[in-house]
């Protein structure tokens, strides 16, 4: 780990100013950043410790019904908040399917949004990686890439975003509140992360000094509470990143879908939403035929970036399964293995 200066601001404005300098990075819990620093992938000149800032650890219901989650709320605090989990069950399920209890107890909301890819070439400083080292190339292309992106990738980078939380947030039209050098602004969560294009090292729309202070779930997204699920396919039962995942949320009235949302994870450098897929849910009957059409639309642009063509069909099936589970209804209590695809429900194909 490189040497760095350490500063601990007590006001957001001071944090923004301290973070705007070239080599500065913000420190939340550090569950991702310290790991990156130990591997030499991140080497900040200055760490701006945000964890002592007041007022950023609250979960608030605003007057207009929106729910605002402070940047420093811990992942487990949010998932275990019974009012929050009742309103946004797919978000709680996504959170509890991520990492381990110890990591969820430390990891923050904003840190989860800004976690870096798990691409092994990004983590290995001996490998070429345009995301880590602009212009160096991409060893994942033609390398071990079975878990890499099938949507939105470029010939400069085929990495995926590893978050589960972001997938559920993306499905529910979440807003990100940012405090920056030039004041406050908001971006939709689906617009926070960039696709790699020609500049994969530009991972988000945040500028130096921009600090996420909160995420906000709109009141309207509570309409999905009765029919919202997250499913995550992993290479082991628990404590693993998604091969593919899906968040599905339906507002079903009199046997028809009034509005529906689908977001995919593990497939691109950002959580994947397709407006055309959601449009197919509107007014449709909540059945397998509808859901297969929706999943096809969500993956219409998918193409393998290497030995990962299997992920396209897998993502399609996981999307259908998430929609079927959402249609069956949010369970009164999350299953023992949150987001596991293996707990079969009525109407699902039993893979035995």
């Amino acid at each position: 780990m490189n040497r760095f200066d350490y500063v601990r601001p007590t006001r957001v404005a001071d944090a923004v100013a301290a973070g705007a300098d070239g080599g500065a990075m913000f420190l939340g819990a550090g569950t991702n950043l310290l790991d990156l620093m130990k591997c030499g992938v991140a080497a900040p000149d200055r760490l701006v410790d945000l964890t002592h800032l007041p007022g950023l650890d609250r979960i608030e219901r605003l007057a207009n019904g929106d729910v605002r989650i402070g940047a420093l709320v811990r992942n487990s605090t949010l998932a275990f908040d019974s009012d929050f989990a009742a309103d946004f069950p797919a978000v709680a399920e996504a959170l509890l399917s991520g990492a381990s209890p110890q990591l969820r107890n430390a990891a923050t909301v904003a840190g989860n949004l800004l976690q870096r890819t798990r691409c092994s070439y990004f983590w290995d400083t001996a490998s070429a990686c345009n995301r880590r080292d602009p212009g160096s190339g991409c060893d994942a292309l033609g390398g071990e890439n079975r878990l890499h992106a099938v949507l939105g990738w470029s010939d400069k980078c085929i990495a995926t975003h590893p978050s589960d939380f972001c997938v559920a947030l993306a499905a529910l039209d979440t807003i990100v509140e940012i405090e920056g050098v030039e004041g406050q602004r908001e971006v939709a969560l689906v617009d926070l992360h960039r696709l790699p294009g020609e500049t994969p090292w530009q991972e988000t729309v945040l500028a130096p000094g921009d600090m996420i202070v909160a995420v906000r779930l709109p009141a309207a997204s509570r309409a999905f509470a009765a029919h919202a699920r997250y499913i995550k396919l992993r290479e082991r039962t628990s404590y693993a990143f998604a091969v593919v995942s899906a968040a599905a949320a339906l507002d079903i009235v009199d046997g028809r879908i009034r509005e529906g949302r689908l977001a995919l994870g593990g497939v691109a450098a950002k959580p994947w939403r397709v407006g055309a897929a959601d449009a197919l849910l509107r007014g449709a009957t909540p059945d397998r035929t509808t859901f297969e059409r929706v999943a096809d639309a969500a993956l219409a642009d998918a193409r393998p970036s290497g030995d990962n063509g299997f992920k396209i069909d897998l993502a399609r099936r996981i999307a259908v399964r998430a929609l079927l589970r959402a249609a069956a209804g949010t369970p009164a209590r999350l299953p023992a293995l949150p987001a596991s695809p293996f707990a079969a429900l009525a109407g699902e194909i039993d893979h035995g």
Binding site: D5, A29, G30, F80, P101, Q102, N105
Partner: protein, 165 residues
């Protein structure tokens, strides 16, 4: 530049001078305070051997900067027994053979204490296994570990109920 931080470790308050902000909580416990019960396994948050309880929550001390935890209360494996009387989780690990080589055991026990305090798993072995998934055991003593956590939790709940009554 030197930083002075205050930590309460196993109910004892320490003021610690840090001449380098890079020190993790794990290295501080082991190298500075010689509390070597907390183990360094992967040092990357993947194995759980370094699990300690900070301000009431189990975390990986390898991925925590000591300087950032200024003011925190830390409990390590050295702080869970009451003199010669073992913690109920320690007793249950012995009773159920919840270990073989013992390297992961301090982390397993701290994690189990955190799990029981979180009260999310109930008496369901499947939920307990899932909620212990952040602690790897390369000897594969998982069966005994799960039984130990179940037993300790039942015992602690029963003792708590008795106290309340």
């Amino acid at each position: 530049m030197t930083f002075s931080i205050a930590l309460t470790i196993n109910r004892t308050r320490h003021t610690i001078e840090l001449d380098d902000p890079r020190v993790t909580l794990l290295d501080l416990l082991r190298e500075r305070l010689h509390l070597t019960g907390t183990k360094k396994g992967c040092d990357r948050g993947q194995c759980g051997a370094c699990t300690v309880i900070v301000d009431g929550r189990r975390i990986n001390s390898c991925l925590a900067l000591a300087i950032s935890h200024d003011g925190a209360a830390v409990t390590t494996i050295e702080g869970v027994a009451d003199g010669d009387t073992l913690h109920p989780v320690q007793r249950a690990f012995i009773a159920h053979d919840g270990f073989q080589c013992g390297f992961c055991t301090p982390g397993q026990i701290m994690s189990a204490i955190g799990l029981i305090d979180e009260a999310q798993a109930g008496d369901d072995p499947e939920r307990i296994r899932e909620n212990m998934s952040g602690n790897l055991c390369r000897c594969g003593a998982y069966r005994g570990i799960t039984e130990a956590v179940c037993t300790a939790q039942r015992e602690m709940i029963a003792a708590g109920v008795e106290k309340a009554a």
